[in-house]
């Protein structure tokens, strides 16, 4: 063990040196959304500019800091001046920033600054300088006062947006792999399981099963081979926390897997990652290799008698593979069709051997619990839902991003305080949680604390953590139709209630959106929904009607307007709307005339234009380009 530990200590030192260098440090967020927002050209501009100016700076990658609505994010630490974060940086803004740095100045326009960095796992605090009072940067708000971060508790996301995800040294320098080393050195598998049980950690993938109990069942099952599987088949549309964790802090997941493997007695592990996440696959692959080089994965980990190999399995695009029995079939290389439980995978899983399947976020929480203690962890959150949960806050909301809050935080705080509400002159109508298995929670229930049980009671589920905010321009019938279309496509087809029932629901909803349905269809829709939820084989089918049932429960008036009056109040369902131009708003600029693909808009310059509704194909192109928002469906 001695050699390995010494090697880790050296790596850790290296990591500290790059995390807190003596020179100016520029970090650029390059997780997938940062890249989509143009982070790579920004990084190239910094590299090129710094070389041209001969400026001694350190430029590194980092993961996602969560503030997606400000991507690309750039985080600059100036040794004697402080640490500042800048949003929506383009390559064009880079030269001025570098010029300021060269003048020993602080670049203008920071979103917020850090006063300190506290390493969650070892408790060390690094203070950053406060800018001089005479400097305008002195008024830049502190990170802990920014509404987006104020109510957050970043425990799973502890390293995201701070360390370089491609550098194991920086993970080690933040207390990484300490939990694994301690466990291998001082704890029996049963002690580890007891700690996880005491923490009352529940699976973050959606169902909320107690992680400790799952591990114990696998531990007590005798077998010559056991497996640990990380479920990174994040299929819920609108949820991307697992992608972000894998791209920003892959070692946290790996460490969690290794601890789990030790506890249950597994010697092999698989990380099953969605095909749609190439960057997550790449970063996890690098992490496994670096860990192998540091004797953290493979034979005789850290010189102990414990061995465990980990490999990645790339998915092939099937939503149902997020269901654990289907996922195992997919790792075996077959069609991902679920099977009846019991037997549970913890008893008979991969190739019939006992297997624990944990979600990415669950595994990334494990090192925190073991380092900080189960009791400490269980004081966060509520009695029945301990700890924190990461949510992706998306849709019709101002502050789109990845947020982590203690469980039990009211929805209202997440949506309005952290998320900043719907924005413009719109109002939030509902929030959709739990993906296609979840439901829509209406605005009047926003005081609900976010917990596994309260959300289920309200007709939705916690799910993997997607929160899609809907405002008055979102049609609830269309949302239900959307989810049924999704599930019809993703149903594996094995059992009839799901295969046929979901299809029938989709057809009925199609009719409602097209204006061909009757009031009788509403009754039929509800009946089919009840049958599918009772009689389906697996979780996908049993929860499939949730979007329909929650829609009918809270937004029945919208459904009735669709079937009785053939009206879509949100202005979404194409057959039930017509586009019109507001005479008072239209400036007669002609942009819409040029854009319309069917020449349905006419008018003279500087005079309000009109739409010939008989020609209009309702493509919405004019609405998108109108500079004064004069065109809207009605």
């Amino acid at each position: 063990m001695g050699f390995a530990i010494q090697h880790l200590t050296e790596l850790k030192k290296k990591g500290s040196a790059t995390l807190f260098p003596d020179t100016i440090k520029i970090m650029i967020g390059v997780a997938s959304c940062g890249v989509a927002a143009g982070a790579l050209p920004v990084m190239a501009a910094f590299r090129q500019g710094a070389t041209e100016k001969g400026l001694p700076v350190m430029i590194t990658k980092t993961g996602c800091a969560g503030m997606c609505y400000q991507e690309p994010l750039v985080d600059i630490t100036i040794p004697d001046k402080g640490r500042f974060v800048y949003g929506r940086i383009t390559p064009a803004a880079v030269p001025a920033m570098l010029a300021a740095l060269q003048n020993n100045d602080i670049p203008d326009g920071a979103l917020f600054r850090y006063s300190r960095h506290e390493c969650l796992l070892d408790g060390t605090i690094t203070h950053y300088p406060v800018p001089d009072k005479k400097n305008s940067a002195h008024t830049v708000p502190l990170m802990q006062t920014v509404p987006f971060y104020k109510g957050q508790y970043r425990l799973v996301l502890r390293n995201c947006g701070f360390i370089d995800p491609e550098n194991i040294s920086e993970y080690l320098a933040q207390g990484g792999y300490h939990a694994l080393a301690t466990v291998l050195n001082k704890k029996t598998p049963l002690q580890v399981i007891r700690a996880i049980e005491q923490s009352r950690l529940r699976g973050r993938g959606g169902a909320g099963f107690l992680t400790g109990l799952k591990w114990r069942i696998c531990y007590t099952t005798d077998a010559d081979q056991k497996y640990i599987v990380c479920n990174a088949d994040e299929g819920d549309p609108g949820a991307y926390m697992d992608r972000s964790i894998l791209e920003s802090d892959p070692h946290a997941v790996l460490e969690g897997m290794l601890v789990a493997a030790y506890a249950i007695g597994a010697t092999k592990g698989y990380v099953y990652i969605r095909d749609e996440y190439p960057l997550a696959i790449e970063r996890m692959g690098q992490a496994i290799e670096q860990a192998r080089d540091a004797q953290l994965v493979g034979d005789h980990i850290l010189g102990s008698s414990f061995s465990c190999s980990i490999s990645i399995v790339r998915g092939a695009g099937a939503f149902v593979c997020g269901e654990e029995t289907a996922l195992l079939k997919s790792i075996e290389g077959l069609c991902g069709e679920p099977h009846q439980r019991p037997p549970y995978p913890a008893v008979a899983g991969l190739w019939g051997k006992p297997t624990v399947i944990n979600n990415v976020e669950t595994l990334a929480t494990i090192p925190v619990i073991l380092t900080k203690g189960a009791r400490w962890f269980s004081t966060i959150g509520t009695k029945k839902s301990t700890g924190t949960k990461v949510f992706s806050l998306v849709g019709k909301i101002n502050h789109i991003g990845l947020v982590e809050v203690p469980l039990g935080t009211p929805l209202r705080d997440i949506i309005y305080t952290i998320g900043g509400g719907a924005g413009l002159d719109r109002t939030c109508k509902a929030v959709q949680t739990g993906g296609p298995s979840g439901g829509c929670i209406p605005e009047h229930l926003f005081n609900l604390p976010v917990e596994y049980d309260t959300l289920a009671h309200a007709g939705s589920i916690m799910g993997s953590g997607g929160m899609i905010v809907m405002d008055n321009t979102t049609c609830m019938v269309d949302v239900a139709r959307y989810f049924m279309t999704f599930l019809e496509h993703e149903s594996c087809g094995k059992c009839t209630p799901c295969r046929v029932g979901v299809r029938r629901m989709r057809e009925l909803l199609d009719g409602m959106c097209k204006g061909t349905a009757s009031e009788q269809d509403l009754y039929l829709l509800e009946q089919i929904a009840r049958v599918v939820s009772t009689a389906s084989l697996c979780g996908l089918g049993r929860t499939a009607p949730n979007p329909v049932l929650s829609g009918l429960r809270y937004f029945k008036d919208e459904f009735i307007l669709h079937v009785r009056d053939k009206k879509c109040p949100a202005g979404v369902c194409n057959n039930l709307i017509t586009y019109g131009i507001s005479l008072s708003r239209c400036t007669g600029c002609g942009t819409c005339i040029k854009t319309c693909p069917v020449k349905a808009i006419t008018g003279t310059k500087k005079k309000p234009h009109t739409i010939d509704t008989s020609r209009c194909i309702k493509c919405g192109a004019c609405e998108e380009v109108c500079p004064v928002a004069a065109i809207a469906p009605c």
Binding site: V479, C619, A621
Partner: protein
């Protein structure tokens, strides 16, 4: 003589872990751009697997295609966040631009394949599209059309 390239996988693994047929198909698709019938037949014969089993897997998973794909793949995200930002209208517009009969398919010159994907996980940038390996966010119909036109002319999007 068929034009496809052959792929074999290592079958000599641990006894209770037979090789993954998904991995085999992924390799065939990587090499050929899609799953040619001949390649599937050959792989089935070589590995002693019924062709029907390979076909079942190939049609179960979204990632596989049994027909040739365009030179550039345009994926339109239909995640929930993109849906509420009207990705269906965007999809319909691009299908019009590429003169496709359906909202998915390959253009007649085999230049582009337009396909729906379930969620690219870039919800903060909704609506998003992916052209080959690059994701583009906060799309409008006009912006997306412009990107396609520049790819068509051989310029980076």
């Amino acid at each position: 003589m068929s034009s496809h390239q052959t792929v074999t996988i290592n079958t000599n693994t641990h006894s209770h872990e037979p090789p993954s047929l998904i991995a085999l198909l992924q390799k065939i698709q990587e090499v050929n751009g899609y799953l040619p019938q001949d390649a599937l037949k050959q792989a089935a014969a070589e590995h002693g697997i019924p062709l029907s089993k390979l076909f079942a897997i190939a049609t179960f998973y979204n990632a596989f295609s049994l027909i040739p794909q365009g030179k550039h793949i345009i994926s339109i995200c239909h995640g929930t966040a993109c849906h509420v930002q009207k990705s269906e209208n965007l999809n319909a517009h691009l299908a019009r631009v590429l003169q496709l009969a359906e909202d998915e398919g390959t253009s007649s010159d085999l230049m582009f394949t337009l396909k729906k994907v379930r969620c690219l996980g870039c919800c903060s940038m909704a609506p998003v599209i992916k052209i080959d390996d690059t994701v583009f966010g906060t799309m409008t119909q006009a912006k997306a059309e412009k990107l396609i036109r520049s790819v068509e002319k051989g310029m980076p999007p």
